[in-house]
Amino acid sequence: MAKTFLPHSITISILLKESIGWARQHLFSSFGNSILTITVFSILWFFVPQLVNWSLIKATWVNNPIACQVNGGACWGLITDKYRLILFGIYPYEEQWRPFVAILLFIAIMLIVANPRFWKLWLSSLLALTLAIIATLMWGGIANLPFVSTDRWGGLPLTLILSVTGIVLSFPLAILLALGRRSKLPIIRTFCIIYIELWRGVPLISVLFMSSIMFPLLMPEGITIDKLLRAQLGIILFTAAYLAEIVRGGLQSIPRGQHEAADAIGLTYWQKMRLVILPQALRLIIPPLVGQFITTFKDTSFVIIIGLYDLLSSTRVALSDPQWQRFYIEGYLVTALIYFVFSYVMSQYSQYLERRLDINMYSK
């Protein structure tokens, strides 16, 4: 507060002195450091103006590839032309408000789930309800909504469906596998170990391949499952193995005394797990769980290989248009930004949770 009464010239000189001190400490602390700073700055000096020039000054905002060629800058017209293809894939054009609402619903439910205040039992029902609403919305077939088959679903909603459903449905399976791996019964333990290690040893891409090639062979004759469901099943079975190891980590960090106390008051195995062990263990594993969700969110892009049109895949389709082909940087940049925003927000959130957990642990 005292500073406000000083004459401006003095304030400025103090600020200047402080910033020179800061620069000396952080940029020019030694001869080598000074050289490094100057080199980096000169590289930035060269590239940043070019970048600004390309992305803003010389950029073309209208939807016209020839104007883009003439101006020579970024061609954001590509996005105005193709944004609906990138975001919604080949979903019927007039019906695209439905995937748009689906995206909003996804963001809303993620914000609710992220809030520790709502971590109650009813949350899982709300989650299931939202997923059901989204599925109905996308499929249609009731109440004036025309039916849209899954091979026309695409874009961001598909990415979100595959990853959110993948995590949500693999979670119960993961809990069973983790409990099984720590069980005293040898056959159950061996079975769970084999399941977990087998899935963790193979690439997700080959799992997706397998789901698209092998499922038709495994099914009874005449019954076919559509491609999306097959990929979804593959993702669930695969993610469950990774999640199981995370859950096991949580189970291992619960002290023995908790088990003994639960046994001492005569709880059965399932009561003990449901009422004592799991509520504590699951709270601990939320940060790594979010990390696994980010991985799944990014890795659903692999479905490009079995011909599903998720966000990345539909971007690629948009860029295969000959007149826009040269402007792939703009297309991939925007898609990368969408992935980045989701992943970055989630990773910051998981770091926040970790700090919060730390505080809770130490304050006890």
Partner: protein, 397 residues
């Protein structure tokens, strides 16, 4: 007393055989075995009917049949008339080539960025952090497709390729570099190189033993460098500086001669290396941070130089934290290699996919992929575990 009566009932209830933990355990396990068997039996039966109706014979006999498809890149000789087995071998070698080079490059880049992230220089720290956050939060496939587009769309045509000293050419058909022609001269130089590497390893062991005896540090790194670079150059000059290279040159619309790295290979390699390096950088950073600053201060007060502190005190301790997660990153890189399919690089999975489409031998093909990947994953973890044991604290936990 009514109370003791109640107790009696519950205790006898407790001892009924169907309430015993042992019996229940057996029942649960029997149920699991039966469920697995029934589901397995249904699936096998379905598969057999399906295979029968499609006229596909099970078994690995198809591996001897003629593959009939061309493969653009092969480290061993391959032509379409070769067998499926040979095609699988070509694919496996391509996967291993990408994985090995990728692991080496990603480790080097990751260590550089991880150390930059801890630099005392503010701007370097910010740049490294931006790189890590930007790369970690986008899918590896996006990086890969982006690299592929850069190479195939933005690099110049072969006629106007980037030209480095008329020896190395960079065009939208890939990178073309000169290759060594095998003759007696190149063999001698190569043998000297191998000999000097072996010699410096020997000196390393000797100095380690020597150092234990009289506790003096030996400039092993400097001496090995002089040996490995100097000795072969000396031999090279002695034989009259004659080494023949096959230099790439433009014939028609493409380069011939020399060694070519195809756009698919480079894009796959770049995508995997960039993505994995960001994760390795974070691992290196947390590993170095895990060694408390007191260790550095103690080492400095003993009079060790900055380099010695890093080499003798900080690195050996941080490696223990770094190795286990690093193993996971190596495994991830190998497991992401099948993304090659998306740009048409003939790796193991992409060749298996072609073979499955041609023969319908889905189960055998998937079995081959899965078992090879399991073998690769297990050998990487085995090697890294061995290394981890070697550097772990002796006699400690």
């Amino acid at each position: 007393m009514p109370n003791s009566d109640l107790f009696k009932i519950s205790s006898s209830e407790f001892h009924r055989w169907w309430n015993s933990e042992r019996f229940r355990g057996i029942i649960y396990q029997l149920l699991l075995v039966m469920t697995v068997l029934i589901i397995g039996w249904i699936l096998v039966a379905n598969t057999l009917t399906n295979l029968d109706s499609r006229n596909i014979a099970t078994g690995f006999k198809f591996l001897d049949r003629e593959a009939g498809f061309g493969i653009s890149e092969h480290l061993i000789n391959y032509k379409p008339s070769d067998s499926y087995l040979r095609a699988f071998k070509v694919g496996l070698l391509n996967t291993l080539r990408v994985a090995t080079i990728g692991i080496v490059l990603a480790t080097i880049l990751g260590i550089i960025i991880g150390i930059a992230r801890l630099s005392r220089n503010w701007i370097v720290v910010r740049l490294a952090a931006t790189y890590i956050e930007a790369v970690r939060n986008v899918p590896v496939l996006l990086l890969l497709l982006f690299c592929y587009s850069i190479i195939t769309i933005s690099l110049p045509l072969t006629r106007v390729a980037f030209n480095l000293f008329d020896r190395i050419f960079v065009s939208n058909r890939g990178i073309h570099i000169p290759s060594l022609i095998w003759d007696i001269n190149s063999l001698i130089v190569l043998l000297t190189l191998v000999a000097s590497v072996l010699l410096s390893i020997g000196i390393g062991y000797w100095s380690h033993w020597h150092q234990k005896k009289d506790r003096r540090d030996f400039p092993i790194l400097l001496i090995s460098l002089i040996l490995i670079i100097g000795l072969p150059s000396l031999v090279f000059l002695m034989i009259g500086a004659k080494l023949s290279f096959d230099i790439p040159h433009l014939v028609g619309f493409n380069f011939t001669g020399g060694t070519t790295f195809s756009p698919e290979f480079i894009a796959l390699l770049l995508g995997l290396v960039i993505y994995t390096s960001a994760f390795i950088a974070e691992i290196v950073r947390s590993g170095i941070l895990s060694v408390s600053y007191g260790q550095t201060e103690a080492a400095l007060s003993l009079g060790l130089s900055n380099i010695q502190v890093l080499r003798l005190v900080v690195l050996p301790q941080s490696l223990r934290v770094i190795i286990p997660p690093l193993t996971n990153q190596y495994l991830n890189l190998v497991k992401n290699a099948p993304l090659a399919v998306s740009i048409g690089f003939p790796d193991l999975v992409s060749i298996a996919n072609t073979a499955i489409n041609q023969t319908g031998q889905a189960i055998e093909g998937v079995f081959i992929i899965m078992s090879i990947y399991l073998i690769i994953s297990l050998s990487i973890s085995f090697f890294m575990n061995w290394y981890n044991k070697r550097i772990a604290l002796r006699g400690g936990h």
